[in-house]
Symmetry: C2
Subunit: 225 residues, 2 copies
């Protein structure tokens, strides 16, 4: 039995990669409907994904850039159409992985200490936590700014200090071999890698990136608690 579990958020508690993809596909269609002179929504989707890769996901002017790529002036009519379509998907299709709610609830009722430690734009990450309605399950929530990704280890340590935990009493759950798994292993925790999202097929770069257990979905987590 572990005394505590540290969870990552995106692609660990919910399907983030697919959700973003669906939102971008929907936005691409809406942009064309609103007047973007593109040949197909697949083409727009590809260009959009390239822009996000280049400028980062928190850059606020993806759609304006897209207009420029198509040689037109950025029009509010087009930008708003893309935004509405994107947000409609991101809001209406944001759900926890199957069984995640039940498992978190069960753990929260037990003596296990639960931490949610995630990186990203703090307001956007909190928006997800609020919309997923999961704040109440955790004893410790920490959202680290994208720019300080290397700071996850100090946060893991802060959590352990706060609740008087040793690393061997903690299970660390995440989807990224070189993030949660690496950090957890480095501190001497047991680690669980969820094979979901865009890191699903990523090979571990070194021994510390290899998780103690690998599971295909959240439900399998039960086996390792």
């Amino acid at each position: 039995m572990f005394k505590a579990i540290i969870f990552d958020l995106d692609n660990t508690l919910f399907e983030s990669t697919e959700l973003v993809k669906r939102a971008r596909v929907e936005a691409s269609g809406a942009l064309i409907n609103a007047g973007l002179p593109a040949r197909s929504s697949e083409e727009v989707y590809k260009k959009l994904s390239k822009i996000v890769l280049e400028y980062g996901s928190n850059y606020p002017k993806h759609f304006s850039r897209l207009c420029r790529e198509y040689g037109i002036k950025s029009k509010p009519e087009i930008i708003a159409a893309g935004m509405v379509a994107y947000h409609n998907v991101k809001i209406s299709q944001l759900h926890l992985f199957p069984k995640a709610n039940e498992i978190l609830m069960e753990l929260a009722k037990s003596d296990t200490r639960l931490a949610l430690i995630t990186t990203g734009n703090p307001i956007k990450q909190w928006e997800k936590i609020i919309r997923l309605n999961i704040k109440q399950y955790f004893d410790f929530i920490s959202v680290l700014d994208d720019k300080k990704k290397e700071d996850k280890i100090p946060e893991y340590k802060r959590f352990m200090r706060k609740f008087g935990l040793r690393p061997d009493e903690v299970l660390c759950v995440g989807d990224r071999p070189d993030q949660e798994i690496y950090f957890g292993n480095k501190l001497g925790m047991k680690t669980v890698r969820i094979l979901q999202g865009r890191h699903k097929d990523e090979k571990p770069k070194e021994k510390l990136c290899k998780a103690t257990y690998a599971i295909r979905d959240f439900e399998e987590l039960k086996k390792h608690l």
Copy 2:
């Protein structure tokens, strides 16, 4: 019979003032739940309304200001809670006035030329047009930036030029005595004032601010077409 009708958007085609109020009330409660140290949501609502009045409705940091007013550092957890509550109301409760859809549809099927000329943040105004799903009814849509409010007359003229209309063939519908009503009258149009929203009880400042007709709700518009 009028050959054309110019519509304003907020408080003319939908109830904007009440919607914003409900969104702010909801946000105020959510901010307290998320940790804003306030005595009551009424108190938060009042402070928030004052901030919006002072900094304008398109200022992006209303909730951060609010945190500062309560002597705490702006936390992403609190900001996100306010934003989610605010947007949930603004999106789920955005509806056209009763009968507005039927009347616009009927007019669009007739020979009457329809214009939608509104002021505000262009992307936010377009977001409303898209979410209300009314773009298809209009022959002419123009969103003027807040800063150029005095430019509504040139837009009215541009619409008339485009469709070869004389002012006496145009009906101008809006909720503001000193905006749509004044501009329409000044150009020699017939004007309809909808008594809705925060200008409902406003007395006309001068003769040109007095509408040809005043109606309580959109349905009554039929009488004057």
